[in-house]
């Protein structure tokens, strides 16, 4: 049952309408997120030390494409997350990270194919590497905290999508950092444990979106009165 006349509520809202700063455009917000994130990646790389063969690996096109696609997936997923919480923006913007995500997956698939051609079934042997999951989580934690703090300022019009994209962004950054510092070249292992961790975390993030991103409750808004 309505406890208050709508016109009374309108008066209260008008009285409460202090000046607000419009949310910065998504591109600008990505830069605000990316700058400390890049510093964080650099700091982790310095502290943990880059993998010894990093320069040599970067000269390999497949590794360079995979690494680049991982980073671009993270950046574009953050951009898409920011776009998804601005009402009235086109929905295709939410799909922006998809091509980079597909290239990342394709690069890993190509690596698996090469392993198959060179070593046969031995090249696709999977070993347990559960440490990858906490490693990806640990390395993506700070970018994730910053990103979730930022996305709480938007409108929760698609909370599952926004939270899923934000988790994809942060965990792709974690996977990118892990690729720089961790010696692991079997594509099937990277596909299963690193890419798999990112996919699982993204699904978890999307599932918990409604919990993190909510409209203000009527009871909370009683402070207006």
């Amino acid at each position: 049952m309505t406890e208050m006349q709508t016109e009374t509520l309108v008066d209260l809202l008008v009285k409460d309408a202090k000046a607000v700063r419009p949310l910065a455009p998504p591109g600008q917000r990505v830069m605000i997120w990316l700058l400390p994130t890049l510093v964080y990646i650099a700091a982790i790389t310095v502290i943990m030390g880059p993998r010894p063969d990093l320069l040599q690996q970067l000269s390999q096109p497949r590794f360079a494409v995979e690494l680049g696609a991982t980073l671009i997936t993270g950046v574009l997923a953050a951009m898409a997350a920011f776009c998804s919480e601005c009402p009235g923006r086109p929905q295709w913007e939410r799909l922006v990270p998809l091509p980079a995500f597909a290239i990342w997956l394709a690069a890993l698939g190509e690596g698996c194919w090469q392993s198959w051609l060179r070593f046969g079934i031995e090249g696709l042997r999977v070993e347990p590497d559960f440490a990858c999951i906490p490693a990806v989580i640990g390395l993506s934690l700070l970018p994730a905290i910053l990103l979730f703090w930022m996305i709480r300022k938007g409108a929760p019009i698609a909370p599952a999508v926004t939270a899923g994209l934000a988790t994809l962004a942060a965990s792709a950054i974690g996977a990118f950092t892990l690729r720089i510092v961790h010696y692991q070249d079997a594509s099937v292992m990277v596909l299963l444990w690193q890419f798999g961790s990112v996919a699982a975390l993204t699904a978890l993030g999307a599932a918990s979106g409604r919990r993190f991103l909510r409209w203000p409750d009527r009871v909370q808004s009683r402070s207006l009165t």
Binding site: T2, A17, P87, G88, D217, R218
Partner: protein, 173 residues
């Protein structure tokens, strides 16, 4: 909307008064249960107010507004559906005995008093959690947002509250 973002209360009042009839008709179109229209309109107004900073002054206002309106109508329909699965509206409370007149007004009042006493006897946290979820029909997530307690804590608190109410009712016969 640009003026409203800058804190111009007159412009904001004008905007909301133009918006109000439009909101009512949009909600009535989607929501046939006319009793709830004003409630939903109010929820949407609060939502629009709380995210007015997300409007990009360089973009048209209508797509921004319509997205919020349609999103909120869907959310509230889902919430109402969830609430309806737990509650049944009845004209008169059903009697607990087959024969008419078996439940006197005094007995009903007594039962209400007993429940009231049992509720009052609960610790503050348990009473709040019970009232929010079992009386007002909020979901665990909503109750968590209101009280600031975690969903797991609230689950345990409500369970304890129910046990304590049962114990108190049994004790008082």
């Amino acid at each position: 909307m640009r003026a409203a973002q800058a804190g111009d209360q007159r412009a904001y009042a004008e905007l909301l008064s133009v918006l109000l009839p439009f909101l009512r008709s949009s909600v009535r179109r989607e929501w046939r249960d006319s009793e709830d229209v004003e409630d939903i309109v109010q929820e949407i107004l609060i939502s629009v107010h709380s995210v007015r900073h997300t409007y990009d002054p360089g973009r048209p206002v209508m797509p921004w507004l319509m997205t919020i309106v349609s999103r909120r109508i869907t959310d509230l329909a889902r919430r109402k559906g969830r609430k309806n699965t737990h509650e049944i509206a009845v004209e008169t409370l059903p009697e607990t005995f087959r024969y008419g007149g078996a439940n006197t007004e005094a007995e009903t009042r007594e039962a209400q008093n007993a429940i009231g006493h049992a509720l009052n006897g609960l610790p503050e946290g348990q009473r709040t959690a019970f009232e929010l979820m079992k009386i007002r029909g909020h979901s665990l997530e909503e109750a968590s947002a209101i009280t600031g307690k975690s969903v797991a804590t609230l689950k345990v608190t409500v369970h304890r509250a129910i046990k304590n109410i049962q114990r108190a009712l049994l004790k008082n016969g």
